[in-house]
């Protein structure tokens, strides 16, 4: 009896110690995030003003605003969406609904997964070779968007395919049994149900594109431009590259501006993240299966 009580006490202690250890690890994981965000807000917020958002850099970028970089990043994000969204959704629909279950399909899936693992600087180099030089688009928003699209596609395809597959097979059977063609079934039942998941994937993919530096380094980004781009064939400044430039290439740069720029980029991507999360949780709450 005494012995088993000891044993019980020992197990209870181990249980408690385990919970504390695991909880500690969780705190260690999320602490840097809060620290980074907090530090950037602390250092960057003094720089934020309407002039900072809406003005051009001046005094060798040591003063003024970041408008051209912000606008460039918005253009690049939209440009990336134009190419990667229809392509990505199309490919996902094919893979989830039409592709036969054979080795070729499996090969395609493996290729897509591996595409997501390629370092972004390699995409940049590829974009330089194909879009900038071979197709002669020059360093331009077009070349940059296409490069970012290729990088974003695997994310969009895999999340969209997953969202489509999550729609219960029974819905498809019912629709077909009522005389629906495959496409009618996809368009009227499967896609609407998968849409929140697809949109979430798109936003997360675009968020990554918006924050990347390497793929735009060789394909679109300009060190400094005194005007906003006016056609897709213009080069543009962009927030991530601008941040790199003012952090490493300009001596005597005020810290405030560096962190202010970082803060704007962070708000840009985090708000996309927030939108994606909101869409996802709203859809989950509404979902009926």
């Amino acid at each position: 009896m005494n012995n088993s009580e000891n044993e019980y006490g020992r197990r209870k202690f181990i249980e408690k110690a385990g919970i504390i250890a695991l909880g500690g690890m969780t705190i260690l994981t999320i602490a840097p995030i809060f620290f980074i965000v907090g530090y950037i807000i602390y250092q960057g917020s003094p720089a934020i003003s309407w002039e900072f958002i809406s003005g051009f850099p001046s005094d060798g970028m040591k003063a003024g605003g970041i408008l051209p970089a912000l606008v460039g990043t918005i253009y690049l994000t939209v440009g990336t969406a134009i190419f990667s969204v229809p392509l990505g959704i199309g490919a996902a629909i094919y893979l989830s609904e039409y592709a036969p279950d054979n080795n070729i399909t499996r090969l395609i899936r493996v290729a897509i997964i591996n595409l997501a693992g390629i370092p972004s600087v390699v995409y940049g180099l590829f974009g330089l070779g194909l879009f900038v030089l071979f197709l002669n688009f020059g360093t331009s928003i077009l070349a940059g968007s296409l490069t970012l699209s290729i990088m974003t596609l695997p994310i969009i395809i895999s999340t969209a395919e997953e969202a489509l597959r999550a729609v219960p097979q029974s819905f498809r059977l019912v629709s077909v049994s009522l005389g629906g063609t495959k496409w009618q079934t996809i368009r009227r039942v499967v896609l609407p149900q998968a849409l929140p998941g697809i949109i979430t994937g798109i936003i997360l993919g675009l968020e990554r594109a918006a924050g990347e530096t390497a793929p735009i380094l060789f394909t679109v980004a300009a060190f400094f431009l005194p005007r906003l781009p006016s056609t897709p064939f213009d080069a543009t400044m962009a927030l991530p590259y601008h941040l790199f430039v003012i952090s490493t290439q300009v001596p005597g740069m005020p810290v405030k501006i560096q962190f202010g720029t970082a803060l704007v980029l962070l708000v840009f991507t985090l708000s996309m993240n927030l939108i994606a999360t909101t869409i996802r949780s709203r859809a989950r709450a509404k979902r009926e299966w």
Partner: protein
């Protein structure tokens, strides 16, 4: 029962079916289904009843079928032939599944779905169909005030009657029901059975019952299928009182299955 001369609506001839995982589902089945009758497919689960049902509306096209041979004649036309317009066929043959799967839409949209697939846009026609089908499935009074509510809010029994109503919207000639009451309480089950009884005046009904008792209550004609083979096919009353084959007798008396 009014014993008007019975007409064969569907004739299954020498039907064999094998799935690609090697499972042979149907072995040389020959079986008529009669118009304006409840045709019951009886037998232990895994015996091929659902496969037979899903062959009748070619829903098996979506499954991994390796080999299928024989004929399924509906009004004398072999629907297994490659030239069959399967979309047209499935409109002519309604189906109710064992789990009540309502589409993620409103009650009204669930019923108009099949018609809208055909391109029907006429509001009056769609409204008429909603009312007619809900009446036929004995659901109208329960849902008439909330047609635009999500169909998912209905109870299990109501959902299944909505599925029945939905299958009637395209004005089919045949209704296939695969254990339609397996998840339902006794009251809902009786409601569904009651609807079938009145529906058979206008339709050919093929029912896989969820119990031997249900088969006894509903069947005009009953086919006993065991491990892919048709053992016996008799009028319902004879099936349960005087089957000719010992296996059938054992099964309906509950000695196996």
């Amino acid at each position: 029962m009014m014993e008007t001369s019975k007409q064969v609506k569907i004739l299954v001839e020498n039907l064999s079916l094998q799935y690609s995982d090697g499972i042979e589902s149907l072995k040389n089945v020959t079986l008529p289904f009669y118009e304006n009758r409840i045709n019951v497919l009886l037998g232990p689960s895994g015996g091929g009843k659902s496969s037979l049902l899903r062959t009748l509306n070619r829903l098996n096209d979506l499954a991994d079928v390796k080999e299928i041979s024989g004929k399924v004649l509906i009004d004398g036309v072999d629907i297994l032939s490659p030239s069959t317009n399967v979309i047209e066929l499935r409109r002519k043959i309604g189906m109710v599944f064992s789990r009540p799967v309502v589409l993620p839409m409103s009650i009204r949209e669930n019923i108009t779905y099949g018609l809208e697939l055909e391109g029907e846009k006429n509001r009056t026609k769609l409204e008429d169909a909603v009312e007619r089908c809900l009446h036929q499935a004995a659901l109208f009074d329960e849902v008439k005030d909330r047609l635009d509510d999500s169909a998912n809010a209905l109870s299990g029994g109501q959902k299944q009657r909505l599925c029945l109503a939905r299958s009637l919207a395209t004005e089919p000639e045949v209704i296939l029901l695969d254990e339609p009451t397996s998840g339902l309480d006794p009251v809902s089950t009786l409601k569904v059975e009651g609807s079938l009884e009145s529906l058979k005046e206008n339709y050919t009904i093929v029912l896989v019952p969820h119990s031997i008792q249900q088969a006894g209550r509903t069947s005009d004609y009953c086919a006993f299928i065991l491990q892919g083979e048709l053992i016996e096919h008799l009028p319902g009353n004879l099936m349960f009182t005087n089957p000719k084959i010992q296996k059938t007798k054992d099964y309906v008396e509950g000695r196996f299955g």
